[in-house]
Amino acid sequence: MRRSLRLAAFAVAVVALAALAAGCGSSKKSSGGTTTTSSGSTSNVQTSYDNGTAAKGGTYTIGWENSFGFTDNFDPTGEYLGNAWGILDNLLIRPLMGYKHAGGAEGNQLIGDLAESVPTPTDNGLTYTYKLRSGIKFGPPVNRAVTSKDVAYAMNRLADPKQGGQYGFYYSVIKGWDAVGAGKAKTVSGITTPDNSTIVFHLTTKTGDFNLRMGMPATAPIPHEVGDCFNGKPGDYGRDVVSTGPYMIQGADKVSLPCASLKPMAGYSGANGQKMILVRNPNYDQSTDQYRKNYPDMFKFLINSNADDIYAKVQAGQYDDETSSPQPKTIRQYVTNPTLKPRLLSNIGDRTWYLTMNLTQPPFDDIHIRKAMNLIIDKEALRKAWGGPLLGSIATHIAPPVMYNNGLTEYDPYSTPGHTGDVTKAAAEVKLSKYDPGKTGKCTASACKGVLMIADTRALDNRMVPVIQADAAKIGITFTVRSINGAYTTIQTTNKNVPISERPGWGKDYADPYTFFGELFDSRALIPSGNTNYSLVGITPAINAAKKLGVKGTLTGIPSVNSDIDACQAKLGQDRTTCWENLDKKMMTQVVPWVPYLWANNVIIVGPNVTHWAYDQFSDTTAYSQVAVSQK
C-alpha cells in the first residue's frame, strides 16, 4: 500500500513539472528568439508561399502524425486516403486525366495527363475515347513504354473485388463492369484498346462526370508484369508501385522481376511503417508534362506520433511540411507572429463538417426537430472549437460552393444572427413537432431526453460536445454522450441505430457534387457496415430487410432523392450544376439530414527552408510537384 504514497509523489512531480513547463512556455519569446505580438489577425493569411528562388535539388521532408493511415497500403487500386492521393498524383502516377496541381478553382480543372487531352464524349454521351501521350515510360523495374493496355489492366484490376478496389462503384456505368465483379467475366467488355495509344470506354448510361472519374489514382496504368505478382493480395502492390511520374519509391531500381524474386521496395516500410522515401524516376521525361515542376531531388515522409514535436520541427526547419492538424494554440502562435505568419497557409478544403441526424430515430424522425437543430446550433462556437475563422467558413448547406463553381454562396435556409443560433426561431419550429404536444417551444417528450450522441475522443470533440449539448438543451433536447475512439465505425454500422453524431465530415473525391450526393444520400448504396449514408435517407422497410441493415425505428415516410441524383447525373455543364444546386436546396429544406457547420480550410505550416509552396486543390494536400526547398 506504499504504492499510494509513491503515486501521490508522482502526481506532485508531474504537476510541478507541468507548472514549470507552463511557466517556461508562457514566455513571450519563441524558441527562435522572435517576439510575439499581443494579437494578430486571421486576415491576410496566405494560400501559397514564396521565399526566394525555387531551384532544383534538396530534400523535402514531411512530418506525418501518428501513422500513414492508408486505406489499402498505398496500392493505387484501393487507396482512398486524400493524403495518399496527393503523393500518388503529384509524384508517382499519371492517370488519363489530371490536374494542374494548383490551388483554387484552377486546381479543380481537368487536363489531359497520360491522355493528350480531355475528350468530348460521342455516341450521345455513351462513348469516351482517350489518346495516350507518347514518351511516357514506366520506371524501374519495368522500364518500358506505357500502352493503353496498361490502363485497361488497371481498370480490370479495379473491377475485380478480390484486388481491393474501394471506389469501383464510380465505374459501374461501363458496360460489363458488374459482370467482372460478379465473377461472370474476366475483363470488362466495355473497355477496348484499338491500338497501343488508344483506349475506349463504352457506357451504359450518360454520365456527365465520367472524365473526372478517370482522374482518380486507381485508373492510372499498372504494368501487368508487376500487378500479376499481387493477384488476390489487396494492398501488397503498394510497396512495389511502379512509377509513371517524376519520382519513384527509393529502391525501385534495386528490385527485379519475375515475381518470385520481387521484393518490396526499400523506401516504403508499409502502411504501419515509419517512412516513405521517394527519389527521381530516371525514365520520366519532363517534356511530356506541362504542370509538374519537380524541384526537390528527394521526398521523405516520416511518421511522428507527437503533434507538438512535428510543429516544433517544422518551426526549426527539421521538417519542411506536415500532415497533421495544428491545434488552436499553434495557429495563434503563427498568426500573431509576423515572422512566422507567412509560413501559415490556409486553403479551401472542399469538405463539409456536419452533425448527422438519423431520420429513423426519435426525435430526429421529425423534420421540425431537425430544422430546429439547424436553427439552434451555434456554428460560430463550433468553428471556434476548431480554431477560429482560419479553419474554414460557416457551412449553410450540403456541398461547398466551390462544387457549384461558387454558386449558392448566399444560400442559408437557417440563417441566424452571426450564425450563433436563434432560440426564438428554433422554438417556433419545435412547436410544429409531435414531440412538443403542449406547444411550449421545447421538446418535452421523453424521446428528447438522453438521446444517444456518438462522439469521438479527440481533443476537438471535447471542445465541440459541450457547445452542442448547451445549445440543444435550449429546445429541450438532452444527450447521453458516448465517446468512442474511432467513432466512424459505430456510426457507419446501421444496426447501431445512432440518432446523432458530431463526428462526420465529407470531402469531395473530385470536383463534382455527385461525390457528395451519390455516396451520402443514395439509398441504393446503403450497406450494413461501412455505410456513409448515416442519416439513412431513402430507407424503406423493404430496403432494410433486403440489405439486412438491422435498423429499428421509423422506417416509413423517409424521403428518397435517388431519382433526383439520377436526373442530375445525366446532365452536363451549367444544367448539371443547377440541378445539383436544386438538390442541395431540397436536401436542406425537405430532407434536412444534417446540421452543416463548417466548410473546412486545410491549414498547413511549412518550414523556413521552403522556397516555394503551392496547394493541390484536387487532392486537398500540398502540391508536392510544385514545392521547392533550399539545399540542405
Binding site: L7, K329, N462
Partner: protein, 278 residues
C-alpha cells in the same frame, strides 16, 4: 482536510455554480480567444476557463464529486469482494485457497490499463452499455473496472491475516465450544480484521482516485459533460504551455486529496498497529 474534501464533493459544485452563476456545462464565448484558446483566471472565472470555454472553478468543484465518488465506491466494492475471497481462502485453505489465490494472482498480473481500455471501449458503443445494460458507460464502467483490479490486493491481505488468526487460541476456544464456521468467521475473525481493513481502505481510496484520473486522462473515463479532474488534465495536455491554469488547479486538488487520504491511512495504521508503539 478529508472532511473538507467530502464537503466540497457534496456541496462544492452547486455552491460554486450558485456563487459564480456559471452552470458547469455552459460555454462562454468570452472565455476563449478568437482562435479558441482558453483564457486564464479573472474576477468572474477564478480558475480561468477550459478549452470549451467552461468555468474551470465550477468544473473543478464538480470534479471533486466524481473523484471521491469513484474512489470511495470502488474501494467499497473492492473491500467487500476482497474480504469475502480472503476470508474464504485463508480460513478454509486447501483447494479453495489455491483456486481463489491463483485467481487473484492472475488479476494482479493482468495489465490493468490495457484491459480497462478494452472494457471501456466495448461498453461505450451503445446507449445500453454492456452485459445487458448492467454496465453503463461512464462512471459505472469506470467503477467496475477499478473494482475488478483492486479487490485482489485486499484479498491477499485478508487471507494473510486470516491464516494467522485461525491458529489463535480464541478461535480454537470458539471451535471447541461448537461454533459453526460461519459464526467463527463472523464473530471471531471479522472483528479482528476491521482495523487493518480500515487502514488499507484509506490507502486504496487515493490509488483508485488516481486510477480514475488516469482513465479519464486517456479519454476513457467519464463523458465530456461530466467533470473529472482526470478529464480536465486530459484537456490540459494540449495547452500545457499556454494555459497553465488548466493543469494547476485540478492537479493541485488531486495532489491534496491523495495526500490527505495517504496521511490518514498512515495515521490509522500507526494507531491500530500495536508493534509500532514500541
Amino acid at each position: 482536510m478529508i472532511i473538507l474534501l467530502i464537503l466540497i464533493a457534496i456541496f462544492g459544485g452547486p455552491l460554486a455554480q450558485h456563487f459564480t452563476g456559471h452552470p458547469q456545462n455552459s460555454t462562454y464565448d468570452s472565455m476563449t480567444d478568437e482562435f479558441g484558446v482558453p483564457k486564464g483566471p479573472n474576477s468572474q472565472f477564478w480558475f480561468g476557463a477550459d478549452s470549451a470555454g467552461r468555468d474551470l472553478f465550477v468544473r473543478t468543484m464538480y470534479g471533486a464529486r466524481t473523484s471521491l465518488f469513484v474512489g470511495i465506491v470502488a474501494t467499497g466494492f473492492a473491500l467487500f469482494i476482497g474480504l469475502v475471497v480472503g476470508l474464504l481462502a485463508g480460513f478454509f485453505g486447501g483447494f479453495i485457497d489455491t483456486v481463489l489465490s491463483r485467481f487473484a494472482d492472475v488479476l494482479l498480473a493482468v495489465p490493468q490499463i490495457l484491459i480497462a481500455v478494452g472494457v471501456v471501449a466495448a461498453c461505450s458503443t451503445s446507449k445500453q452499455g454492456c452485459l445487458g445494460g448492467l454496465l453503463q458507460p461512464g462512471l459505472p464502467v469506470v467503477i467496475a473496472v477499478i473494482t475488478v483490479f483492486s479487490w485482489s490486493y485486499i484479498a491477499r491481505i485478508v487471507r494473510g491475516y486470516t491464516l494467522s488468526l485461525r491458529e489463535k487460541e480464541f478461535v480454537e476456544a470458539s471451535r471447541s465450544l461448537g461454533a459453526t464456521n460461519l459464526r467463527i468467521l463472523a464473530s471471531e475473525m471479522l472483528p479482528n480484521l476491521i482495523g487493518p481493513l480500515v487502514v488499507y481502505a484509506t490507502l486504496l481510496i487515493p490509488t483508485n482516485i488516481l486510477f480514475e484520473a488516469a482513465l479519464s486522462y486517456l479519454g476513457l473515463g467519464v463523458p465530456p459533460n461530466e467533470a473529472s479532474w482526470g478529464s480536465i488534465l486530459n484537456d490540459a495536455s494540449g495547452y500545457y504551455d499556454v494555459a497553465w491554469w488548466l493543469m494547476l488547479f485540478p492537479g493541485a486538488f488531486l495532489i491534496i486529496t491523495t495526500l490527505a487520504f495517504n496521511l490518514l491511512g498512515d495515521g490509522l495504521r500507526d494507531a491500530f498497529d500495536v508493534r509500532s508503539e514500541r
